[in-house]
């Protein structure tokens, strides 16, 4: 499952990376092409990677094994989170050949490339947390994927809605949007607010996942 997801992710990323370079007549030695689709691919593939993490355990009955083992709910959730983050990091590492190619054939600005990767990782961790939360809600992994997709793309497009609505409501909506905190990283700016935002989203949804599992015991 993870292998297929990774392979397709790299294929699609590579395609967008190349297309962008070709369109700019190779004058812009940056990974912008990859980043543009990359952000959305991260959302999509996070939902796919996490959809079965808890749902499938429920379906197989192994959930009962985990919940009756001497481990705490948060340990289960963190275990799932970090292992999925590891897979996602692996996927990102495999895309490092884009900047490496640029370095061989051109002279890219390494600063923004590094911050972009940090941004992708942070966006990824937030997306994975949302995916795990969705997976904790249902034994059906398709439903989990749809719920995760709904939350992710909802939070993503919240920024666009925010831009249409007058201040200050619009600004508040924009603050909660996953998309509004990404451009800084692309420009090479690491703003604490952006980092805090992604880490908070991660923490909140992991917390909600733990609660969702805990309440299940009471039902």
């Amino acid at each position: 499952m993870a292998y297929i997801v990774s392979a397709i992710f790299i294929g699609l990323s590579g395609a967008s990376f190349t297309t962008y370079l070709a369109q700019s007549s190779y004058s812009d030695t940056s990974i912008r092409g990859f980043l543009e689709t990359g952000q959305l691919l991260i959302l999509l593939f996070s939902a796919l990677l996490t959809m079965r993490l808890i749902s499938e355990e429920r379906k197989l009955g192994t959930w009962e094994l985990l919940l009756t083992a001497p481990v705490r709910e948060y340990e289960i959730v963190l275990g799932k989170f970090f292992s999925s983050l590891l897979v996602l990091s692996g996927m990102l590492i495999l895309t490092l050949y884009f900047p490496i190619l640029l370095m061989i054939f051109g002279d890219p600005d390494t600063g923004p490339i590094l911050t972009s990767y940090l941004g992708l990782l942070l966006l990824g961790s937030a997306s994975l947390a949302i995916g795990i939360f969705a997976s904790s809600l249902t034994p059906n992994q398709i439903v989990a994927a749809v719920v995760a997709g709904g939350i992710l793309f909802g939070l993503w497009f919240l920024g666009m809605v925010g831009n249409l609505i007058p201040q200050p409501v619009g600004e508040i909506l924009s603050y909660f949007s996953l998309s509004q905190h990404f451009p800084g990283f692309v420009r090479g700016v690491v703003d604490t607010r952006d980092v805090v935002y992604y880490l908070s989203v991660t923490a909140v949804f992991l917390f909600l996942s733990v609660r969702s599992i805990e309440t299940e015991r009471w039902r």
């Binding site: 197989l60 009955g61 192994t62 959930w63 009962e64 094994l65 985990l66 919940l67 009756t68 083992a69 001497p70 481990v71 705490r72 015991r217 009471w218 039902r219």
Partner: protein
């Protein structure tokens, strides 16, 4: 129970103590104020029809569900206040065998061991031991998803004992496997019960009498009877039941049969006549004679065991009469 105390109860060899346990799912009360204790080394059968509350009770003991009311202690640990320590003492085989179908038996047991906090060296040793107990040597490197139902059950059992727990909770351990494997599984459970306390659930009566020393019968969330096997069968088997199929007009057949002296009761349930006698009577010959005299043919005659449903009716009635 309001006065469920924080203090550990005086157990006197009790390993599992369930006090006033109730569990409701929304409006539906699945388990209704039940209490029982299980002593060290006992093998206890938890008997009841489907939906009686067996699984819910077991899930409460293992900590999978939190009781709506009541307290549970396992090996001196309160399952609510000290859940991790309590769970460490329990090996659990749920009704749905919890297998990761993409893992080999070896990998799966290794994971189960780690989950129970065994370090890898100990886990290795334990895998060798449980594989021997559950006779899984040849299937160590097979994906658990490719195993037959009987072997999956064994892997599930192996998983439950990987950390050498004091208490084993087995939910329907013999359901859906072929008769030969049922025999093997029973032997395995008996062997495991030599140094462990076991609570196993089933809805098959003869199964309990072969493995268990004591039975708790539960119906509609309540305990209807709790006793050792011998006493229970004394209560239950006071009568012998014969089921006949006769080629003749049912009313007349019943009338003729009712003249048999030792007969206690006769009834007709199409297409069978059901006759009841005292346990120690041997009425078959006389039944034959009566039918032969009238010129009817006896198509079949068999002694029937009381079904679980009948037992419940009987026990519930008995309980009402006592009250």
């Amino acid at each position: 129970m309001a006065d469920a105390t924080d203090e550990q109860p005086d157990r006197g060899g009790e390993v599992i103590k369930v006090a006033s346990l109730s569990k409701s799912y929304g409006e539906r009360l699945a388990v209704d104020n039940i209490s029982f204790t299980i002593g060290k080394g006992e093998i206890v059968g938890f008997l009841g029809p489907n939906g009686a509350g067996k699984t819910t009770t077991m899930r409460a003991i293992t900590g999978y569900l939190i009781p709506t009311e009541g307290e549970i202690w396992v090996a001196d640990c309160n399952i609510r206040k000290d859940p991790l320590k309590a769970r460490q003492h329990i090996g659990y085989l749920p009704e749905t065998i919890p297998l990761y179908t993409e893992m080999t038996t070896r990998a799966y047991l290794g994971f189960a061991g780690k989950l129970r906090g065994l370090d890898s060296k100990v886990a290795q040793r334990r895998i060798d031991e449980v594989v021997e107990v559950c006779q899984l040597e040849e299937y160590l490197d097979v994906l658990t998803g490719k195993l037959s139902k009987g072997f999956r059950q064994r892997v599930g059992l192996a998983q439950a004992i990987i950390h050498d727990p004091e208490v084993l909770i087995l939910d329907e351990p013999t359901v859906g496997i072929d008769p030969l494997q049922v025999v093997q599984t029973k032997a395995m459970i008996k062997e495991l019960g030599r140094k462990r306390t076991i609570l196993l659930s089933t809805h098959i009566l003869p199964e309990v009498s072969l493995i268990c020393e004591r039975v708790i019968i539960i119906n509609q969330g309540k305990i209807v009877a709790e006793d050792n096997i011998d006493n229970l069968s004394k209560i239950l088997n006071t009568r012998k039941q014969l089921r006949l199929r006769v080629n003749g007009p049912s009313d007349q057949v019943r009338e003729s049969l009712s003249k048999i002296e030792m007969l206690l009761d006769v009834s007709y349930h199409e297409p069978h006549h059901l006759l009841e006698f005292e346990r120690d009577q041997e009425p078959q010959a006389e039944v034959n004679q009566v039918l032969a005299k009238e010129g009817w043919t006896l198509l079949s005659m068999e002694e029937v065991e009381m079904s679980l449903e009948e037992i419940f009716v009987k026990l519930t009635k008995a309980a009402e009469v006592e009250a």
